[in-house]
Symmetry: C2
Subunit: 363 residues, 2 copies
């Protein structure tokens, strides 16, 4: 069966401020020192899906820059521009409709654009197995990450005990039936999940047929499906663009997790263990390159005196640190951010405040 | 008797990096938001000494910029350029010789260029009294600051018990005979000084006749005096500049405290209490303007979230801080510095390291 890759790349990444800006969202940052996150995601997928079958769904405001920066990585026409951000159900449904109407049914492999994967070969093996499972079963397949610590920042997937089934490919992978999706837990609950076993991190990676997900939307999200159908009917006609611009902004905003995954009856999970991380905040920069002997992750011109376990990121200034521990310092363009690593999530508040105060130049 | 003001302004102020640079030393920083430190010092002195009798001694590398930035504050010819830094005995002796040979004897009021004074009126009253005492007694007069806490960063002056003598001016000031100059103490010793009483902070402000200090130099620092005499003989002749350039760099390097004050027999101290601080490190920026309601001293564009008692200084970037306490953040030009307030003295190490590493552009 035909295979498609769909990268969800519509987010602004406000937790990455000041590196990420309105004009330069997180997925278009080069954090590894090698390439933009979006390109690393496309490259990672390329061992499983042909580049000519890759798609990106992004916001219309980012589409032009996205086309430039992904030059040569995929067909420019496969960069789908959302006229408005309508959450992941709309995003995935739009891609499914586009694929189905223009290219015919196939397995969609849907990945966020901002993940870190250490072991890319194992990642490919798991993805390969997931595609096979989706083809064999007509199920909604997701990848669940084997937890390595009691994370409170991820949702969890509980798999049904004893439901483990071999996929029957050369990689010897199994799937399990999903019993339940659970919200981000508190620390005690997370510890409990780890000791009980059978809980995996919800990675936000989905694998299914385009036709399957649209059927589920028709059943579970009829209002979303109605909008998508109207768009689908216009695809390939002269009315395509105008219809998208009219309909897309009124698609109900609902996440695929809440709208479909938590309610659907045939959901499978394949466990993955490939050094995965959601690059959700600046704290994750420590994963992107090797630390110095004091545990400091350093980008750009830096000078660290008696400082430990910090993330020091300079773009065009020298950053000099004395006596810092577990801190984040990021300088780029017209802004400098300083905060403790454990408070990296709160960077979002700074962006909110700047917006409230009308300090647009910093957004 | 004629009165002269001499501002010692030769220092680089490495503890003020990155604000202070080779090309822009501390005394040429505008930290108060009103004017350069050097100009504030000149202005503060102007109620006691006429501007036409003010002098600045600075390094030749800073002399041009100093002339520009002090425009209109004093006679440009009174900015004396040292071809090399030879410590305070040379600096003061040079000024004394220049004054004596060119303008005749008089009371010199010698002030560092980087002090903070809160109560300028009281400062003027104390200075006035010191000038009178120097005139009446032919002594070496210094101003000792009434300690407000057991500081370990200043030297102390012990005054002789019962030696208090009224100066007999309208300000009702007294002088005491100095018994001893003592080095920067440890905390316990400093506490001891405060509880015993009779100890004052060594402010580095000196008041004496030009002829008196030169006599003391002839007695206590004959090698220094020999050099100064050669320079003195050339002053006003065509050989003046060439002699200074030849002799100055070989004047023995010795501080006025160590070379004269600690050894001289006729040293008087006048206690002062006018909200004095030596602006010796970035931590002192907190004195220069009012803090916000969380105790943060903020310069430039800043955004503080849950941060307390910090010094946040941005020149041309937005500085955003989350969860910082008792920290210093300074951004200017091509550099950013972050350190805890209590480690502000160590900024000097950064400058040393940059010099060692040949990163000249940041010095």
């Amino acid at each position: 069966m035909k295979r498609y890759g769909v990268i969800m790349a519509g987010g602004g990444g406000t937790r990455f401020w000041p590196l990420s800006r309105k004009e330069r969202p997180k997925q278009l940052l080069n954090l590894s020192g090698k390439d933009f996150m979006i390109n690393e995601t496309l490259d990672r997928l390329s061992s499983t899906v042909e580049r000519e079958n890759m798609f990106i769904v992004t916001n219309v405001s980012q589409a032009e820059l996205m086309k430039e920066e992904t030059e040569g990585r995929l067909n420019k026409d496969h960069i789908l521009a959302e006229p408005a951000a309508r959450n992941t159900s709309a995003c995935i449904g739009y891609a499914a409709m586009e694929i189905l109407r223009k290219y015919g049914d196939g397995i969609m492999c849907i990945l966020p654009s901002d993940h870190f994967v250490k072991d890319e070969e194992e990642f490919s093996r798991v993805l390969e197995a997931a595609m096979l499972a989706a083809e064999q079963t007509d199920a909604l397949v997701t990848i669940g990450i084997e937890p390595t610590f009691p994370a409170t920042g991820y949702g969890y997937i509980k798999s049904k005990q004893g439901s483990q089934t071999p996929i029957g490919d050369k990689n010897n992978k199994n799937y399990s039936i999903v019993e339940e999706f659970v919200e981000k837990p508190d620390e005690e609950t997370a510890k409990n999940y780890l000791s009980k076993g059978g809980y995996l991190w919800n990675s936000g990676m989905f694998i299914w047929k385009a036709s399957t997900i649209l059927s589920y939307m028709e059943w579970l999200l009829p209002d979303v499906f109605q909008c998508l159908s109207e768009i689908g009917d216009a695809i390939g006609t002269v009315k395509e663009q105008v219809t998208i611009e009219k309909i897309y902004p009124v698609i109900p905003k609902i996440s695929i997790d809440y709208g479909i995954m938590e309610k659907a009856d045939n959901v499978l999970v394949i466990p993955g263990s490939f050094g995965w991380n959601d690059i959700g905040s600046l704290d994750m920069l420590s994963l992107m390159r090797e630390a110095d002997e004091s545990g400091n992750t350093r980008y750009g011109e830096t000078l660290c005196e008696d400082s430990r376990n910090c993330i020091i990121y300079g773009t065009d200034k020298l950053i000099a640190a004395i006596g810092l521990e577990d801190m984040i310092v990021v300088q780029t363009g017209d802004a400098v951010l300083i905060c403790p690593r454990e408070r990296a999530q709160e960077v979002k508040n700074i962006v909110d405040q700047l917006a409230e105060q009308g300090r647009e130049q910093y957004l």
